[in-house]
Amino acid sequence: MSTAALTHDSQEHHGAPAATCKFGMIIFLISEAMLFAGLLGGYVVLRISLNGFPWQAGHAWPPSADIPHLPVFLTSINTVFLLASSFTFHFSEVAVNKGKSGLGWLAVTIFLGSLFVGLQCYEWTHLYHEGLWFDTGGIYGSSFFLITGFHGLHVAIGVALILWCFLRQVFTKCFTPSNHIALQNVALYWHFVDVVWICVLTLLYYV
């Protein structure tokens, strides 16, 4: 959902103040958090009922030996890229606050975000060739693909939003130290997607 875009557009039409836009974004992100809470909560419940807690005897995840393991190492590297992108986004905000364009850091953020999506796509195809897909491996495959799919979609939308900010800054130089609420809201969204990823990573890959 490109609410950042929406709040920004409406701001141009009716002038909702920046604080109001930010408040709206936070409310929206709370509902996003509930979406992921539903998905991850469902996964946790299914997994515990099927296979017990990780510290219990007989616990095995993936639940059977013929299901391929997830590429934990590659994804950990990928996580570093995503986390780094939150910092670079922040640097670009800092730059805008100082009256600079912030374009360089935004470009780096777009690159890192795209890299994350690209590597996730690679991971999906890799697992598909290994024989893991939505319809194989029971709830192991189901949860992995649906949850990373939802999260990946959010990252992709985030990259699109940052690209939109980038282009606006290139062509209209609209972000100034006093007014860059669209950038701030996209940043909020981006950090949120990062935090969700930490939860997804922990529950799907590490535990």
Partner: protein, 588 residues
């Protein structure tokens, strides 16, 4: 729209649309004006009310006269619903499912939250518009889109979904079980998009109420409709995304071969019920809290008395909203639940009776010794309280696990939720339409036809739904297409026919309402600014209000329910009026 001859405009951007004709599309179809968006919701949801009502009549026809050809339209029905004019069992399931889905997501929610929420929030808090007008309009069109997708389910191979509005898995999750994978898939998509619409709207409402109140409009000076919509919006923010997640899982189970709700792959059908009812019970309050808020306003105005216990009303709504999140298990007593857990859910459910009773007694305290004016709006509001009490009391039966085990899958529960959803929400909606129609359209909604509409609705509503209590306790199960195939139900068939006759009367009565609306719009009495001598801010501006609502940003001096204040000559004191020396105000 002559109201905007402003001394000082609210801000420069407002009012600019007054000076030129914006054209049909910009005025009616793609508008940023919260009032027009509210009316868009109103008309669309009323259209869905007729669709949902027609579906209900199909259901009632089959139950009253099983197998008999549906009169008039029988041969026009799709073959998935009826063959040779008679409704088939699978088609009956589709009618039930679509009736419930339409009424919940496309009638009651859009009317209460979409129509009245959009129309009233900015006007009652003294704002020029919603915080995010574009998001607001987008929310409306997402709602329309989801409605079109849902209706399309009737026309795809296999037909509409027939798994009930609760879409219990694994029936809903396995194509081979339900036989309507396409329809069920469209149902999932429609619910998901409808959820986006709700979240967009709710984000807007919360932001607007928190950030855009007029000077002096403290939280505890807000009219109760705004409070109720505020709490409802928070419930939407927290509950709807969980349904979206569940709908996505269901869609994946149906179309991508995942196994969230399929035991074969390690999934659990019961997970669907938990996710669904985690949304579904707050949803119950999402559909009744705004109705309570609207009713409170009407009762106070037409009793000419302050609302009894304003703060208690607010706290009761907050309590209901909070408790709504910890009672979902009472929908699952018969699904195989741990007894300790079911006892806990039983207790938390019964606790909800406390804030509900606070509200009910406060409504009675409000009208107690008031100078009651029996306008149509007031009649509907009074009926709301009475019908809600019946529905609320039968709810306590269901909260008790041992009782619920016997009545859960019977018509007793159908009677219960129609008493709160129709007798409650829909009555409040009708009352609110009669009350705010003058503001919305600048003309009064006819009182004579209105009274006919009210009395016929009340009589036929009770004729339709009261016997269902008896049917349920007599053992009639829910979701059966033909009661006459069961020995023990044959003797109850006359009651079923009585319900059906009542339902037909109810259907016809709706046309009285429709006719009233059309004739009032064409030559109704012109409405003044404040036809009911009410206190809240929307009555300080023209009917209908101009673009930007308030020519001058209003300043609020006290609470909204200062009626018959000792020390003031007239029996109301608008929120923008300062109280004279010596007046004893209720609020601060």
């Amino acid at each position: 729209m002559t109201a905007i001859t402003a001394d000082t405009p609210v801000n420069e951007t407002h009012g600019h649309d007054e000076h030129h004709d914006v054209g049909f599309i910009k005025k009616y179809l793609w508008t940023y004006d919260h009032k027009m968006i509210g009316l868009q919701y109103l008309w669309t949801a009323l259209a869905f009310l007729f669709i949902g009502g027609a579906l209900a009549l199909g259901v009632r026809w089959q139950l009253g006269f099983p197998g008999a050809a549906v009169p008039i339209i029988g041969n026009m029905l799709p073959t998935t619903v009826a063959v040779d004019g008679s409704i088939i069992p699978g088609g009956y399931n589709m009618l039930v499912t679509m009736h419930a889905t339409v009424m919940v997501f496309f009638v009651v929610m859009p009317l209460l939250i979409g129509a009245f929420g959009n129309y009233l929030i900015p006007l009652q808090i003294g704002a020029g518009d919603m915080a995010f007008p574009l998001l607001n309009e987008l929310s409306y069109w997402l709602y329309v889109l989801s409605g079109v997708i849902l209706m399309a389910a009737f026309f795809v191979p296999g037909g509409a979904p027939g798994t009930g509005w609760t879409a219990y898995a694994p029936l809903s999750a396995v194509a081979a079980y339900n036989g309507t994978p396409l329809g069920q898939g469209l149902w999932g998509i429609a619910i998901f998009i409808n959820g986006l619409s709700s979240i967009a709207g709710a984000t807007n409402y919360v932001t607007t109420i928190v950030n855009m109140r007029a000077p002096g409009m403290k939280m505890f000076r807000m009219p109760l409709p705004v409070w109720s919509l505020f709490i409802t919006a928070i419930l939407l923010i927290l509950a709807v995304p969980v349904l979206s997640a569940a709908a996505a899982m269901l869609f994946a189970d149906l179309n991508l071969g995942t196994s969230f709700f399929k035991p074969q792959g390690g999934g659990q059908p019961l997970l669907w019920q938990h996710l669904f009812w985690f949304f579904g019970h707050p949803e119950v309050y999402i559909m009744i809290l705004p109705a309570m808020g609207l009713t409170s306003e009407i009762l106070a105005v037409f009793s000419r008395k302050p609302i009894f216990g304003y703060k208690a009303m607010v706290y009761a709504m907050i309590a209901i909203g909070f408790l709504g999140f910890i009672v979902w298990g009472h929908h699952m007593f018969v699904s195989g639940m741990n007894l300790t857990l079911s006892a806990a859910f039983s207790v938390s459910t019964m606790v909800i009776a406390v804030p509900s009773a606070i509200k009910t007694f406060n409504w009675m305290g409000t009208i107690w010794r008031g100078s009651i004016e029996f306008t149509t709006a007031m009649c509907f509001a009074l009926a709301f309280v009475s019908m809600f009490v019946i529905g609320g009391l039968s709810g306590i039966f269901m909260a008790s696990t041992p009782v619920d085990l016997f009545v859960h899958h019977t018509y007793f529960i159908v009677a219960h939720f129609h008493y709160v959803l129709f007798g409650g929400s829909i009555f409040a909606i009708f009352g609110a339409i009669y009350f705010w129609f003058p503001k919305m359209f600048g003309c009064m909604l006819g009182e004579t036809l209105g009274k006919w509409h009210f009395f016929l609705t009340l009589v036929f509503f009770n004729l339709t739904f009261f016997p269902m209590h008896n049917l349920g306790l007599g053992g009639m199960m829910r979701r059966i297409a033909d009661p006459t195939v069961y020995d023990h139900l044959r003797q109850l068939q006359p009651l079923n026919q009585l319900c059906t006759i009542g339902a037909m009367g109810l259907g016809l009565t709706t046309f009285v309402f429709l006719w009233n609306v059309i004739s009032s719009l064409r030559n109704g009495k012109k409405a003044p600014k404040n036809p009911w001598n009410a206190n809240t801010l929307e009555w300080t501006v023209a009917s209908p209000p101009g673009h930007g609502n308030f020519p001058v940003t209003p300043v609020v001096y006290h609470g909204p329910y200062e009626y018959s204040v000792p020390g003031i000559e007239k029996d109301f004191l608008m929120q923008t009026e300062k109280a004279p020396e010596g007046a004893q105000l209720e609020s601060h």
